[in-house]
Amino acid sequence: MVTPIFIVAIALGVGFSIGVLNKLGKNFTGGLVLAAITFMTFISYQWFYAFTFGEQTPTYVYTAGFKPPFSINLLMGQYEAIITLMINSIGLLGGIYMFNSLKERGSNAQVVYLILIMALNVIVMTRDVFNLFVFLEISSIAIAGLILLEKGTRSMGAGFKYVLATSIISSILLIGIIFSYFITGTLNVDDFISLSISTYKGGAIVVFLIMIAVILELKPFPANGWGLDVYEGSDPGFSAIISGASATASLYVLYKIMAFAGVEWNYYISLIGIVTFVGSNLLGIKQENTRRMLGYSSIGQVGLLMVILGFKDILGENTPYIFFGILISHYLAKAGLFWLSGIVRAKGLKEWAVIRKKPFFLFLMGTFIFALIGFPPFPSFFAKWTLVMDLVQSGNIVWVAAILFGSIMEAVYLFRWFGYAIKEENKHLEDFKIEIHKIIPVWIVAIALYGFGYFVSQLTEVSSTINFIPFAFVILLFAIDFLPIFVKNTVAILGMAFYFYTIYPQLDNFRLIFEVIFIVGGILALIAGYAYKGKREGFYPVAILMYAGLTGIIEAKTTLEFFYGWELMTAGSYFLIIRGHRSMPHGLSYMLFSLGGAYAILAAFGIASVGQDSISMSIINNIQYIPTWAYALLIVGFLTKTASVGLHIWLPGAHGEAESDVSPMVSAILLKAGVFGVALTLIGMGAENNQYSVLAYTLGWIGAITALVGNLMAVFQEDAKRLLAYSSIGQLGYIVFGLAMMTHLGWLGGFSYVINHFLYKAILFLTIGAVVLRVGTHNMYEMGGLIKRMPLAFIAVLIGIIALSGVPPLSGFTGKWLFYNAVLDKGWYLQGAIMFFSGGIAFLYLWRLIHTVFLGQLKDNHRTVKEISIWFLIPIYTLIVGILVYSAKPQWILQPLAEIIAPFFPSNQLVWNGGTAISHYGNWAGTMVMAIIGIAFLAVLGVQLISTRKAHKVKQFDITYAGERPERPETTHVAYNVFEGLYKAMWPATIPLVETFWNKITNYLHDTAGFTRRIYSGNGQAYMLHIVFFILVTYLVIIGG
């Protein structure tokens, strides 16, 4: 074992000698510095190894051969080993990354860098407060110097502000240290702990001074303008070091100081942390400059880590797990992002579109951003999960709310940035150059993120149950992404089919319905993918990622697995949606609503786990602590996915702008995940439990209003896919309404709708999507008359809309019939009438859809379009067969459904007599009705065939036109603003109140951020004032007058 003192010795030895050795050239000195850091890394690694895999006990290193407190001693314990390893490795990677920029500044800069890393190590290890001060100063001075790696006035200004700020902070620290010596007679941390310094006279204020200085080093909001300037102004490679190494070391110092500061400080540290986390993330949404934005994010993350430290007594033995989970994600991802920003060299967020020219960098960027937000499989996901669980269980729900709010704010700007990178125009941007030594570190941290994700998931008993097989399949697809589409599609389909085959026996019937919709539906939608040409890069991994998530939530046995699947699905669907042409803003709002929903679910799971031994999914059946709120949170979370009114504004754009075969995936399939969640929640609430009737009643109204709003908005759309998207909102409203009734009939209706909606919405989206691929536009008024060119597509849409509208004899009527029986049974008459009315409105948009696309006048440029691709027709007609079977023999599906529902809602409200369904209120014989209508239709058709056997086929302008003739198809096709009259009558109902509401909120947040960030005036003196002000306010709050 090499004693850690060699970290210091090597660094200083090399550093001091470079003044002579620099004659040998800058490359040599640079290499020497890297070698020194490598050796330092090795030292901390071997300690880390010994602690993790061996029986190593914490070891003190005494300098000068005297026992502390008489000399300065260093401690190498497990945490020190980890932290120094982190600092040294990031120092090594950063050194590689900055090799050239350091070299350019000469050997002096290289030395300063080396000494910075060394100083950070000592800060972590030292047990002497004055020594801590000395090395903090070393690191401050080194940072102030290295800021200058970036040339120009901006970095000089930033550096000077940094020097001023740190000099104030260190003055306060020094006053605190000297007084601490004065009152205790020692400078050793361990002595402070054993003497419990805060009990001395004046101990409180001394601790305050030390504490506040250390906290200020962590750049708490709002006294952090200088820190932001440093992040923005310095070399991005160096920003990564500040964020990864310096902040990490400072956090550890805080941890060290907290040992003697007394427990009352924990609360204040958390408070400052949360204010920092929320505040800086809120201000982050206003940023247009990447590095400054990343700075805000870094500061925010450190705030979150402070919260965790503050809660360490409550979190107990989970603290290291949570702390390091979030720290490592932040440390790696933020370093990666800063380095990327150095490679890409784009200042404004929109300029990041250039990264798309090298797609692999986009992947790296996505990895880092998802790791920062806390998506699986990254460590932060597990850490955040545990954090929320533990905080909720200890009753700190307000804290959880604040943390989740801050996280959403962070997601806002990170995903907006990511969206720009993916979608913004990049033709005019100059491609960026790649230097190999800059890529390697980025690579390494990305791989490390995935590695740590797996490692962290295996650390606890609960998270190790997560099924990584689907995710491994995603990785596989990613690996073969260079292959042509045919191969990848086949692999994807076979993989899904095989997976379905293997897990099929494990599922109960209730889950099986959804699994069939997810997987079989997914396979059908994937078949349509054969129609695409080329490689379609990146499509298959993300599609399978979504399906992996979907199957994850079905299989989930614990709430963690469920949430894991939920987040995977969100990520996958986000990427799918964002692939569309104009889908960037919609992708963003989808992500934000999804995250909001996911956090609501997370909080609810936390509440549910209070007082329970396990985190098995069954705990939501028996929530003990504020159950109504928990269920409300769960429902709100799931309703974001079902796009119920109020939470629906993301859907039309997201579904409407997605690719042709993606729309059915996200509409027909993905939305059912929300339904699955709502169903689980309602089962959890239980049918007989009257205490939740208000919740169910509200949910019922939400469903009804959603149905109305969705359908009404669909009527006034000009874009075919948006029309279908709004229609999906409406249909999901029906489902939610049905489930909310919490009766046998209601659930049967709801489930019948689930299946139906899957069938016909998949048909409609696939067909319209295929048509859009052929005609190259979404706008219905630009189509028309396509029945002549695409009869098969027409038939598909015809069947789809008949089924959707609920007109007998097709299957849609099943759901309607069940609904009205359920409505009468439950007594929700007004809601029922609204549902019926929205059903009536559905006819309007359905007719419009089929009329303006397929009927009317064929346009000039569509005269030669071909029938939609066979690869679309195969799944479409498979689904049509499904609809026909369901229509002809509804009992085949409804009877098993009734059996599935019976355990939860056990009343025999529906009796089957052969093919006739008999309820208390009426009866309906699906097969017979179909037969009667069929026979009548054929009879009438026969008569007509005889009487018009000699009909002349005419062309599209052969119409009576008041003695004139049509001149152009465009002027003859009635398609634009068809329902103008209805609009004049009903416009008050189409005012986008919800959108206005969310816009107002967004604007309010933006205005708040815009106003608040003006405190960062850029004036170094103002920053000093902030710091002093912060000190004083904290002083008055904590110590008091």
């Binding site: 006035t153 001023l164 007084f179 004032l1025 002093v1028």
Partner: protein, 126 residues
């Protein structure tokens, strides 16, 4: 403040200097004046450190004749606290380093914008 001894006085002076330093840091627009304010602040802190080591009527912590001339030849009872004196040495050097760095910055900043007004260097903000 029942007994106004040397320790108290120097301590008060130290704090006074610190306050003056803070006042200068927060009010002076000229970077050089800010640096001067910082050195005043620094000096104040150094005075604090030294005065905290002061023990009434004791001599410097060097074991030589002056100590041996004291009554009971006991080093412990005859010297002031040596630790703050060691610390102040470090503090002074650190203060020197920071001041030097600040001055270098001041030179470069003046070169860049030909001004020493601190509020002119607000390229980075918000």
């Amino acid at each position: 403040m029942e007994q106004l001894d040397l320790g108290h006085i120097s301590l008060a002076i130290g704090f006074l200097l610190i306050l003056i330093g803070f006042w200068g840091l927060l009010t002076q627009k000229n970077i050089i004046k800010i640096i001067v304010a910082f050195t005043i602040l620094d000096t104040g802190i150094n005075i604090l450190i030294v005065s905290l080591g002061y023990i009434v009527g004791k001599t410097a912590p060097i074991v030589d004749n002056s100590v041996e001339q004291l009554e009971n030849h006991n080093v412990v009872n005859s010297i002031v606290d040596p630790v703050p004196q060691a610390l102040v040495l470090t503090a002074i050097v650190i203060g020197f380093g920071v001041t030097a760095l600040m001055l270098a910055y001041a030179m470069k900043l003046f070169n860049a914008k030909k001004t020493l007004e601190i509020n002119k260097f607000n390229d980075l903000k918000w």
